[in-house]
């Protein structure tokens, strides 16, 4: 179980790291290299984003990666193959991150079935609140996959509890308003928010949106269980290439 895995690992480390890549970006070879490098650098789990033409919750960097991948012909089928392959190669948990239409068009059951067979442990679908997710939740439960839900600073306590009643594996706490890839100020306000999240669920808490360096990660220790490194690695790939990523990750913790 993902939750247990994470809680176990947390006993060994102050904080866990989750990284993110866009499947097929900048190309398939680089993706395989990226995963290898990240696992090698000790990340604890990874999001594999399946590109979508309308990534409404993503900021410019990830948006551009989505579009670039699609323009170069990346298909959902190929992404699923990629997921299967990396899950086979590495023994950390992998999650899919994508928008609901990708699941919907593929067929939610078939999609989840594929996940399960491939050993993908969960999924983050940012435009699918539990209210709209009956089919998805049913399929995920049936196949033992973890639906990851999102907490946000604007979510009232009551709704935090409501969300956590559907969540499995861990909860993804969005650090602030806005989209991915913007600056987050790591302040008192953030830790109050994380305390609120902690109240609402027993699950491990991941914090994402704007985590970019060791200082940010250090700040999160004791407040969250997982630091999510998203846009920052993509930026690194764009500017310094895949080779720079391993050291960057190693330096975070």
């Amino acid at each position: 179980m993902l939750e247990d895995y994470l809680k176990d690992r947390r006993k060994e480390k102050d904080i866990l790291l989750m990284t993110h890549i866009v499947a097929g970006y900048p190309n398939w070879d680089a993706c395989f290299d990226l995963v290898d490098a990240m696992v090698d650098a000790g990340v604890d789990l990874m999001e594999l984003q399946i590109p979508f033409s309308e990534p409404i919750a993503d900021g410019p960097v990830i948006l551009k990666a989505n579009q670039d991948a699609l323009e170069r012909g990346v298909t959902v089928a190929r992404c699923l193959e990629f997921g299967r392959e990396v899950a086979r190669r590495h023994d950390i948990p992998f999650l899919y991150m994508t928008y609901y239409n990708i699941l919907y068009r593929h067929g939610v059951d078939a999609f989840v079935e594929d996940m399960a067979v491939s050993g993908i442990q969960g999924a983050i679908v940012p435009d699918l609140p539990p209210e709209e997710g009956d089919d998805y939740l049913r399929a995920m439960t049936r196949r033992g996959c973890n639906p990851i839900f999102i907490f946000s600073p604007t979510t009232p306590d009551e709704r935090l509890r409501y969300l956590s009643s559907f969540a499995q594996g861990f909860v993804y706490c969005v650090a602030r308003k806005g989209v991915t890839g913007m600056d987050t100020r790591f302040t008192e306000e953030l830790s109050t928010y994380l305390a609120r999240c902690r109240q609402a669920t027993e699950l491990p808490l991941a914090l994402g949106f704007g985590v970019k360096d060791k200082q940010d990660v250090d700040y999160l220790k004791g407040k969250a269980d997982i630091a999510v490194i998203g846009t920052q690695t993509l930026r690194l790939v764009d500017t310094q290439g895949v080779a720079a990523v391993g050291n960057f990750i190693r330096g975070l913790r």
Partner: protein, 409 residues
Amino acid sequence: MNHNGYFSDFGGAFLPEILMATFDELTTAFKNAKADPNFWREYATLMSTYSCRPTPLTLAENLTRHFGGARIYVKREDLNHTGAHKANNVMGQGLLVKRMGKTRVIAETGAGQHGVATATMAARFGFDCTIYMGEVDVERQRPNVFWMEQLGAEVIPVKDGTRILKDAINEAFRDWVSNMDNTHYVLGTACGPHPFPEMVAWFQSIIGQEARAQVLEREGKLPRSIYACVGGGSNAMGIFSGFLDDATVELVGVEAGGRGLDTGAHASRLCSGDAAIGVAQGYKTYFLQDAEGQMKETHSIAAGLDYVGVSPILSHLKETGRARFAVATDREVVEAMRLTIRREGLIPALESAHAFVQAFKDAPNMAPDEVIIINQSGRGDKDIFTVADAFQDPGWREFIIKKAKQYHA
């Protein structure tokens, strides 16, 4: 509508968690406004003193004679302030924004019409205003950009994706999730997450309410059919709303056939095999998308119809058979527009002209005592650059070339 804004299996609210509270607030504000008879009164007063409501219902005598069938009426949304039905929605949302105490509005725009309307509303209400517009549309709709800027709005060209309407919507959502505390997103059509489709349709229903009363007064009976173009679906829902309960009244929505359904270069979500049900931009409806769920490029001569999705309420009306849908090609649109200008002195927007195309196809087959209404959602003089190109007017070209030379000097 059932729970959560579903119409049949269409609609819903597929929202990032960060927006949930904002939508709750909006839904509550909308519900309260709808329940408060003073709100509609305030809205109707605003529209009758700031815009020109009720807009007239014009009998198109010459076109009627020309086609020799049904009596053709035209509902004149082109006479609204800012030149299109968009004003109805925008002013209504403006009143809601005031109620919610927000101070900034953002909007997407394709044709520019909704952007101008929103910028106008913002100027009137004293709100800050940012308009997102695909870069392609910024280029083809410069006059509207100019007016938006004069009205005090910041116009941000969207350089991502296909750089048209849908991308502007995505970008507006991205702004909203950062600024929802003081900002309301004035969605321009009856699409998007609940409560937008219902809310926009409600504001636009002023068209149908008026049209129904007007046609009854003029003709003493209900029309046989109502025609409206369908981009996102707000003008169609607006006029249809007045006749939904009149089972004998046929509702006809006309989509952009572009260069023809078989070319792929069109924007028909309800009549073409290129569309399928899906979820994007926060709601579930028919989208022009590929087998894997990626949105397709769309094409229409009318920027305002050039959109991948369609109102979930219209998808529902299609599903239930309550409405019929048709397409009009770019070429047919230009012809219908020419004819309408020449015969009636009316200049429909390119968007609106789609509705005329289907009405002109059907009218000759109807009896002279039958009545139809075409919703002229906007005026075409805003489209002069596109229309002059479509009509291939040499005088216009010369003029632009001369003008450009002046600027070089």
